[in-house]
Each structure stands twice: as structure tokens, then as C-alpha cells.
């Protein structure tokens, strides 16, 4: 497992390894978000997913999310690992770990991280069903970014 705090991997993700990167004596709270492959989306049965990334830029953008969090929650420490390649139902696609001295910040900063991942990190998933496959866009599908990039303000 990569010792970098912000990383893209082709291997199964160890939750413990990601958590270890943020555990420290001054923090009493760690939250994790673990995104797993769901079998049914809008009533449609997924067989497996294929994740693809623009790896070098994705790692940069994950680190940028870490910097955004450091500005908003100065006491927080963050680590994010995202997996790419073929993932089966219930496989772990992403683990976000955030440690803070106090727990409320750990929840908030963690939720911020997953929302930002879904906005700015160049990773795509292709859903494979029994009768087809499709690259998934963002949930709005038609979101346009006037400045050519998603701003922090785009966070709902």
C-alpha cells in the first residue's frame, strides 16, 4: 500500500492502512467514508463496475481537496485512496479517513471530501448491467461550469 496520503490504486483498499495515515496522538476522532459498489441503482441491477482515472491529475486533485480541508478545518488530517479497474458488488471503491481532535469536525470534513471528489477528481465509472453498459456522468448530467472548472461554491 502506497504511503502517500492521496492515492489512486489498482489493488483492493485496506481500510486500516488508510486510517493509519491519519491516526495521531492529538486526534481523538477518526471518521471514514467507505464507498462500496451497490447492486441496484434506480432499480437496475449492476453486475460490476469499471473505474478509470486520469491518475496523475486525480492524485493532485485529491491532494487539493486535502488542502481545502486544511483551510476550513485547520486541525484535520486527511487521507484518501481511490481504487480503479474492475470492481464487483460490495468491493470498496474509495476510502476517506479524517482525524481531528474533536468529532464534529471529523464528520463535516469527511462529508466535504466525498462531495468534492464527486465534483473535481477525474475518475469515471462505467456501469455494466445484464443488458448493457454505460459511462456514468455527474448526477445532474447537464452541469456546466462557466469558469471551465467546478468552484468550491458548486458544492451543494
Amino acid at each position: 500500500m502506497n504511503s502517500q496520503r492521496f492515492t489512486i490504486t489498482k489493488e483492493p483498499i485496506s481500510i486500516e492502512e488508510v486510517v493509519k495515515k491519519v491516526i495521531r496522538p492529538e486526534a481523538g476522532a477518526v471518521t471514514t467514508f467507505i464507498g462500496t459498489v451497490r447492486e441496484f441503482t434506480n432499480g437496475k441491477r449492476t453486475l460490476f463496475l469499471q473505474y478509470e482515472a486520469y491518475v496523475s491529475m486525480a492524485e493532485k486533485k485529491l491532494a487539493e481537496i486535502g488542502e481545502e480541508i486544511a483551510r476550513k478545518w485547520p486541525d484535520a488530517k486527511v487521507a484518501i485512496t481511490h481504487r480503479i479497474g474492475k470492481l464487483d458488488i460490495s468491493d470498496i471503491a474509495v476510502v476517506i479517513a479524517v482525524s481531528t481532535p474533536h468529532r464534529k469536525d471529523a464528520y463535516e470534513a469527511n462529508q466535504y471530501a466525498i462531495e468534492r471528489i464527486k465534483q473535481i477528481v477525474p475518475i469515471w465509472k462505467k456501469e455494466h448491467w445484464e443488458n448493457g453498459e454505460e459511462w456514468v456522468g455527474n448526477q445532474l448530467e447537464t452541469k456546466a461550469y462557466p469558469t471551465g472548472k467546478p468552484e468550491e461554491e458548486d458544492l451543494q
Binding site: 486520469y54 491529475m57 486525480a58 471503491a93 473535481i120 477528481v121 475518475i123 469515471w124 459511462w135 456522468g137
Partner: protein, 76 residues
């Protein structure tokens, strides 16, 4: 020469991960228009990164730059 990267459905539509293009400095918007007509693809909701940073439509691309077309992301 600039290097152009495609991902996800764009990569499948074009049939290539990357192409290289010899051209004078041009705006992101111009490159989009060129590729849309060349490959018959829709880049309206596609973001562009120049050297791994998101770029606006008016940003200039120079020889040596790497340009990536980034469809709406769906990680997480």
C-alpha cells in the same frame, strides 16, 4: 506539438487514448471546436485540463502542453 488525452466515453468515441497535434498556440475553445468537427463528438459539458489543471475556454494552449478532455466525473 500538443498532446491531447481522452477518457471514458470520449476515448471510446475517438478510439484513442491520446493524439498529438502540431499547431500554433490556440484557445481551449478553438481546440474544442476543431475536435468536435474532426471527430463528430460533443464537448459541450466536457471540462478541459491543461497540464493537469482545469482551464477556462479562453485559456491559451502552447506547444508542449498536455490537454485532457474531462467528461463529467463519477468517482466516489
Amino acid at each position: 506539438m500538443i498532446t491531447i488525452l481522452f477518457f471514458a466515453h470520449l476515448q471510446e468515441a475517438i478510439g484513442k487514448e491520446r493524439i498529438q497535434l502540431n499547431c500554433a498556440p490556440l484557445a481551449v475553445k478553438q481546440l474544442k471546436n476543431h475536435l468536435e468537427s474532426e471527430y463528430n463528438i460533443d464537448l459541450q459539458h466536457v471540462m478541459v485540463a491543461v497540464n493537469e489543471e482545469y482551464a477556462s475556454e479562453s485559456e491559451l494552449i502552447h506547444p508542449g502542453d498536455t490537454v485532457a478532455f474531462i467528461p463529467p466525473v463519477s468517482g466516489g
